[in-house]
Amino acid sequence: MKIAFTATGEGWDALIDPRFGRTDYILIYDEEKDELVSIDNREIMDVAHGAGPKTAQKIHELDPQVLITGNGPGGNAASILKQMQLKIYIKASGMSVRDAYRSFKNNELILGG
């Protein structure tokens, strides 16, 4: 299974970015390969309108089955994410990616969307 995280930096110690559309990084953990990949999303800063859809498009290309983020995604992003078979867990802000993953495995995260 592939799990996506919105994060403020790279690697397991990065914190979850509460923002969806304007998240600084997208992290993808592939459980089968046991591999964590960080994708720099900071170009989103130059997007005046429609940051949510743009980031949602990126997530779609990465094709995860689970997304772990902070706040719920805004309207536009939510409508795109709905088109994917994606479970969205929210309210992980402040946790490290490592802790968020652990909480997810222990079924401690809140299902949003």
Binding site: V47, H49, G50, A51, P53, K54, A56, Q57, H60, G75, N76, S79, I80, Q83, M84
Partner: protein, 283 residues
């Protein structure tokens, strides 16, 4: 005569002035009140009346034709508003981000993005004791205030042109929407209050109206709460002061109940008289 009522910021009494002025004016002349604060039209709280007509304002947005699309992926790169998103083998249209520029539709090599009409908002025409009242309301979630304002003005030009006085309640601020609402007015009343906030916002509004080259005057609301700085500014800039409305708790109470203020408070009645006679002399 088309009169726009505007303010640099919200909460200065713009709608209250527009509504009271319109109801008072219609006693002596035919008057039309237009609520162009399309994101938050609140004029209808004060003016109800009978429904005359309801018009759905529309704009065009692209409609993706899956069968015709070759998935070349060009359209999302053309759209500078990020209203088109390619998700695998699907093109998604985000209606609230689309500005109806037609670029994607007319450039699509496969003609897979025909434009189709989409609701922008509702223009409602009511009649309240002889006053024509038009309210323009933007569809929730949309941001395209300016096109709806332009359509509303076109609507009244076509259907309601014969009034002696048109009063436009403009959106607050000095951004695009405000400019769209006031740019075709014959005269603009800028309403503000005698505080540093009020003065700061008034200056911005004055700059905007001057840039548009429309004659304007000021009405100062809540006179007595602050200082005289704003009056000094008006004098220095030779901006006509049309009226002062006093600061009273009673006004806030009546406002919160949706009551007509000038009928209860003599000073407001006088202020409206002053404004109307000033406007009358402009003709």
């Amino acid at each position: 005569m088309r009169l726009a009522i505007a303010s640099g910021k919200g909460g200065t009494g713009k709608t209250t002035l527009a509504v009271n002025l319109a109801i008072k004016a219609k006693e002596k002349q035919s008057c039309l009140l237009v609520d162009l604060d399309v994101e938050e039209p609140n004029g209808g709280i004060f003016v109800q009346g009978d429904l005359v007509a309801e018009h759905e304002a529309r704009r065009a947005i692209p409609d993706w034709d899956a069968a015709a699309c070759t998935l070349c992926g060009k359209c999302p790169s053309w759209c500078l508003y990020n209203a088109l998103i390619k998700l695998g083998d699907t093109i998604l249209v985000m209606p609230n981000l689309c500005h109806s520029c037609y670029a994607c539709s007319e450039m699509c090599p496969a003609s897979a993005l025909a434009m189709k009409p989409d609701s922008l908002g509702t223009i409602t025409h009511r009649r309240f004791e002889g006053l024509d009242f038009v309210e323009s309301r933007l569809e929730i979630g949309l941001e395209q205030a300016s096109p709806l304002i332009s359509q509303s003005l076109a609507y009244i030009d076509e259907h309601l042109e014969k009034h002696d006085l048109q009063i436009l309640d403009s959106p607050p601020g000095t951004a695009c929407a405000m400019v769209s609402a006031v740019k075709q007015a014959d005269f603009v009343i800028l309403i503000s209050e005698p505080t540093p906030f009020g003065l700061h916002d008034l200056k911005l509004a004055v700059q905007t109206v001057r840039e548009l080259g429309i004659p304007f005057g000021a009405v100062i609301n809540r006179d007595g709460i602050g200082n005289d700085e704003i009056y000094g500014y008006l004098k220095e800039e030779k901006i006509p002061l049309l009226a002062k409305i006093p600061h009273q708790r009673r006004i806030a109470e009546l406002y919160s109940q949706g009551a007509m203020l000038y009928k209860e408070i003599a000073e407001i009645d006088e202020a409206l008289e002053d404004i109307l006679s000033y406007i009358g002399r402009l003709r």
